[in-house]
């Protein structure tokens, strides 16, 4: 019903873009004063930092600089704003808190967000109110569009990543997404701490042969009405599903790495044709969608739907051990590769405890923390580090992590498709909303 009402409207995308243009014009015209102020403060901070880091001897080594950061971090309380919707992840963050307290005297407070944009908005509100120092946020778990927003609005501290000793262990060659976040260069403004790749989770007891391509998925939905769904965008799992479908369906996947332009309608036309065909066979006839990725996992456990899309490679194994999925849950990836990305931590420009935040970011990159993150009992996702750069002892940490039949090996994970430029996601979400949403 709702869809009929809106299909007669002109797409709202153009309208929203206009608003953005208006806002942009206003921003350019009027933001100079704010910019000037920010610049003055940034200069002051920068000069202060310069005298601090490169100051006295100017020949101070990286090691000595890091030592002085450690010294200043000792006793600081770091407020880490991180999505808090997963109990498993929350426990991991709590463990990080214990370790940095022991090791560096940094008190870590996990500010649990239901949406990372909360933190972005907060930093913005603080800048609006002229709060250019001692902000309330020290560290943000971030990537993609939120990162782009903060970078574009100069809301970030740094570049700081090169100062972290453990960053040298990151596998920038094989895992280019550790420095290209949704194709946007990180420029040292955010530090990677985990690799994500979209996997599909299903219950092998009810489904012998799961669909391994978008075409097979459509056939499966037609044969099993109501057993296929995906989370409603802008939930990031739902958006990723759409991008995954776009990769497979479009003729020219290469353009997705460039910002979306006039080619948007042409490039995405096969996606909408596919969804138009799929929707009537979806769960609830496509009139409702799970609100989050984890809500869809619940539906799989209930047996209401067959497939759960997850960005966590170890999801099936950790959910089984938590009692959230049956023992028979297994995961797989679509043929032709699945979208992967990296998630990061960044420091707001006005962080009160930037040193403490850097210490935490560095610890997240340590072999100890990374190895634990690959363990499905604690998180279960691939590391950002390069095994080749680790000592034998450090590699041992990784190889001793137990494996699970529910988790795919790196070989089984296959090709990682890079995230399209964020502009694709924004416009796909808007179009989806117009066609299938509210």
């Amino acid at each position: 019903m709702t869809r009929l009402t809106y299909s007669t409207r002109r797409p709202s995308r153009t309208v929203l873009s206009r608003s953005r243009v208006v806002a942009d014009a206003q921003t350019e015209a009027t933001n100079r004063l704010v910019w000037a102020l920010t610049l003055v403060v940034a200069m002051a901070v920068f000069l202060g930092g310069l005298t601090f880091f490169a100051g006295p001897g100017r020949a101070q080594s990286d090691e000595a600089a890091w030592q002085s950061i450690l010294k200043r971090a000792d006793g600081q309380e770091v407020f880490w704003n991180a999505w808090g919707g997963s109990d498993t992840y929350n426990s991991y963050i709590a463990w990080v808190g214990d370790r940095v307290k022991e090791e560096y005297g940094v008190t870590l407070t996990h500010v649990k967000l239901s949406d990372t944009a909360d933190a972005v908005r907060r930093v913005l509100a603080e800048r609006t109110a002229g709060r250019v120092t001692d902000g309330t946020i020290d560290l943000i778990w971030i990537n993609g569009e939120n990162f782009k927003t903060m970078k574009d609005n100069a809301l970030l501290y740094g570049p700081f990543v090169e100062r972290l000793p453990n960053f040298s262990l990151v596998d920038q060659q094989e895992k280019p997404t550790t420095v290209l976040d949704f194709t946007v260069p990180t420029d040292g403004l955010e530090s990677p701490w985990g690799m994500a790749q979209m996997v599909v989770v299903y219950d092998s007891a009810t489904l012998a042969e799961p669909p391994r391509s978008m075409k097979a998925l459509l056939a499966h939905a037609k044969a099993n009405p109501g057993r296929v769904t995906y989370p409603a965008p802008p939930d990031f799992t739902g958006s990723t599903f759409l991008k995954q479908a776009l990769y497979e369906l479009t003729d020219a996947p290469g353009v997705l790495l460039q910002p979306a332009g006039d080619n948007f309608d042409d490039v995405t036309a096969p996606l909408w044709a596919y969804l138009d065909e799929l929707s009537p066979h979806l769960w609830r006839d496509g009139a409702d969608y799970p609100k989050t990725g984890t809500a869809q996992r619940q539906l799989v456990d209930d047996g209401a739907v067959d497939l759960h899309f997850s960005f966590n490679v170890g999801e099936a194994a950790s959910a089984i051990s938590e009692g959230l999925l049956p023992e028979t849950a297994r995961s797989y990836v679509f043929e032709g590769g699945s979208i992967g990305n990296t998630h990061f931590v960044a420091i707001p420009f006005n962080a009160s405890h930037a040193e403490g935040a850097m210490v935490v970011a560095n610890f997240l990159l340590s072999p100890e923390a990374q190895a634990r993150k690959t363990d499905p009992r604690y998180w279960g996702e691939p590391t950002v580090l390069s095994m080749g750069l680790l000592t034998e002892e450090q590699q041992q940490l990784f190889s001793s992590v137990p494996s699970s039949p529910a988790t795919l090996t790196p070989a089984e994970l296959g090709v990682t498709l890079p995230e399209p430029h964020p502009s694709w996601m924004t416009r796909i979400e808007e179009t989806w909303l117009t066609r299938y949403g509210s």
Partner: protein
């Protein structure tokens, strides 16, 4: 004498101060919402006024149906709740079943809206408890059917959730209103004139009662039209209300959506005002049509027809509320509970043993925030009421409207702007900010709960005590307060329960640094782990329940040897 003077001075300025603490921030918050709605938000480059964003608002997909959905679900929920409460009270007032059901419904007051919503979803969903109880033996379903039961495309489950939550509140408000009018005499008189008890109640008692209940009804209406935490759980992802759209825009990574969010919050304000105006108009119409009926002499042969549905619906509301909470509590002890098992296949205390660490901090924040806010509110309310008594002022109806403002204005409409204000004064994320934000909502409810018993206390007790030569303050401490111990404790418990249930104020004023049981529960709701949600629903409901328990039992124990206190206790 000196301290007495200070006390008196305080009492005189208390009402003004209370209103100031209220009106200032609310009005400032509203301004902070209205300006961005018209394009003024310097932080995002909006430095001149424009109405451009109103066009964007109108063009956003589905905004029209979202506004309409907000309106009709809120209206329907309020009409249904009120109708059920009135019919139930009219037909069963004065009978034992009324007392039983009223006692049964009272604990649902202490269960936060979000908890009821989460419980109801599990109860009614195609994979939910009711379906599990009848599957597969009766339905043949081995897997949950793909039926849109909850959430349903029409939003009826959402309306149901609101009704379950608002019935106990309206019933409480009705009972407090009934104390202010000669109910029994009216009913006895009309029965002696040959009216059935129910029709007598509706024709004589209800018209006297309604003016007293008007403000609480408007509060319910405003809340239902703008609620966010219940809607997010009980409505389909594709059928949001305006409140949900505002939150979606507010949360959008693209910051230009902030303007849209401000427009949405302003429209939300207009929607609530519009709903109240329409309701007010409907009151006039109903009154005009009902007036001839009142004296037309009909004595109600139909009353029996309505009595059973009245009882049935009230019982149903109670049953749904109770089963919702019960289901979630069972979940908190479950390890595996898959469809179609009627009860968990495997139980585990793991949830309680391993997850309570994470529960302690939010529980503490909830306790401190609610406790302090309720105590401050009690102090202010008692000051105002005592001032009224001492100076024998007539309770000001207009003042009450001002006090109700935070309940009648949708929360997003002024919290949005208030947050900017807090950030500017660097108060965001402070205890002061969060307690103040809670106070805005705690105080009106506490006032609502305490003002009637306070004013109804036989004034001759005070006069007698004064004429015995005791000072005003001694009479207050030794006579007024002990006599009102129970209503005071209940008011405290009400205030505390209101604070526990607050979602948006905690989010906006807490700067993300304060996690309460409610914010944690709503955050975890997206996580889909029903066992953990169950634990939080339990904790969320238990704390306020404990408060009400203490309020009910302590005076009983304290005055166990005072028979005359039983009417008051």
């Amino acid at each position: 004498m000196r301290s007495g003077e200070i006390g008196n001075t305080w009492l005189r300025i208390a009402p003004a101060l209370t209103l100031l603490a209220f009106m200032g921030p609310v009005l400032a918050g509203l301004t902070g919402t209205l300006l961005p709605a018209f394009g003024y938000l310097p932080g995002l480059g909006g430095t001149s006024l424009s109405i451009a964003f109103w066009g964007d608002f109108g063009d956003y997909p589905g905004v029209g149906s979202a506004v309409w959905r907000s309106f009709w679900t809120g209206m329907l929920a309020t009409v249904l709740s009120l109708a059920i409460v009135v019919i139930f009270a009219a037909s069963w007032r004065g009978q034992r079943v009324f007392v039983w059901l009223h006692r049964g419904l009272a604990p649902i007051l202490s269960v936060p809206h979000s908890a009821v919503a989460l419980g109801l979803l599990f109860l009614l969903a195609p994979s939910g408890w009711i379906m599990r109880l009848v599957s597969p033996w009766a339905t043949g379903f081995e897997r949950p059917p793909d039926l849109a039961l909850a959430p349903d495309p029409y939003g009826l489950v959402f309306v149901l959730g609101l009704v379950v939550k608002e019935i106990p509140f309206l019933l409480l408000m009705m009972l407090s209103g009934l104390n202010q009018i000669p109910e029994r005499q009216s009913v006895t008189l009309s029965r002696s004139l040959g009216y059935s008890a129910m029709i007598g109640w509706i024709k004589i008692v209800l018209p006297q009662l309604y003016p007293v209940m008007r403000l609480p009804i408007y509060a319910v209406l405003a809340y239902s039209v703008s609620v966010v935490d219940m809607a997010v759980v009980l409505l389909p992802a594709t059928s949001p209300t305006l409140g949900l759209l505002v939150m979606r825009w507010f949360n959008d990574p693209d910051l230009t959506y902030q303007f849209l969010a401000a427009v949405g919050a302003t429209v939300q304000l207009g929607l609530v005002v519009g709903a109240i105006v329409i309701w007010w108009g409907a009151e006039r119409v109903v009154a005009a049509f009902a007036r001839p009926w009142l004296s037309a002499g009909g004595r109600g042969k139909l009353s029996r027809v309505l009595a059973l549905p009245g009882l049935g619906l009230a019982t149903l509301a109670w049953g749904l509320g109770a089963a919702s909470v019960a289901g979630m509590i069972i979940w908190s002890f479950a390890h595996r509970w898959r469809f179609p098992d009627a009860l968990p296949r495997a139980y585990s205390l793991g949830n309680w043993v391993n997850k309570t660490d994470g529960l302690l901090d939010p529980a503490l924040v909830t306790l401190v925030t609610g406790g302090v806010a309720a105590c401050i509110a009690l102090f202010l309310v008692v000051s105002c009421l005592e001032n009224e008594q001492r100076n024998r002022l007539n309770p000001g109806r207009h003042l009450l409207w001002l006090l109700y403002l935070p309940l009648l204005i949708p929360q997003v409409a002024f919290l949005f702007g208030a947050q900017a204000l807090l950030v500017a004064f660097r108060l965001d994320g402070s205890w002061m900010a969060i307690i103040w934000a809670h106070l805005l909502f705690v105080l009106p409810y506490l006032f609502l709960s305490l003002s009637d018993p306070y004013r109804r206390l036989d004034p001759r007790y005070r006069v007698t005590a004064l004429s015995l030569g005791q000072s005003q303050s001694r009479v207050f401490w030794t006579i007024t307060l002990p006599l009102l111990l129970r209503p005071i404790l209940i008011a405290l418990a009400v205030g505390f329960a209101v604070s526990v249930g607050q979602y948006l104020p905690t989010i906006f004023a807490g700067g993300g640094r304060f996690a309460t049981l409610t914010t944690e529960a709503v955050t975890l709701a997206g996580n889909g782990d029903r066992r953990l949600i169950g634990l939080y629903v339990f904790a969320q409901s238990f704390l306020p329940f404990l408060g009400f328990g203490i309020a009910a039992l302590w005076p009983l124990w304290r005055f166990r040897n005072r028979r005359g206190m039983r009417g008051l206790v």
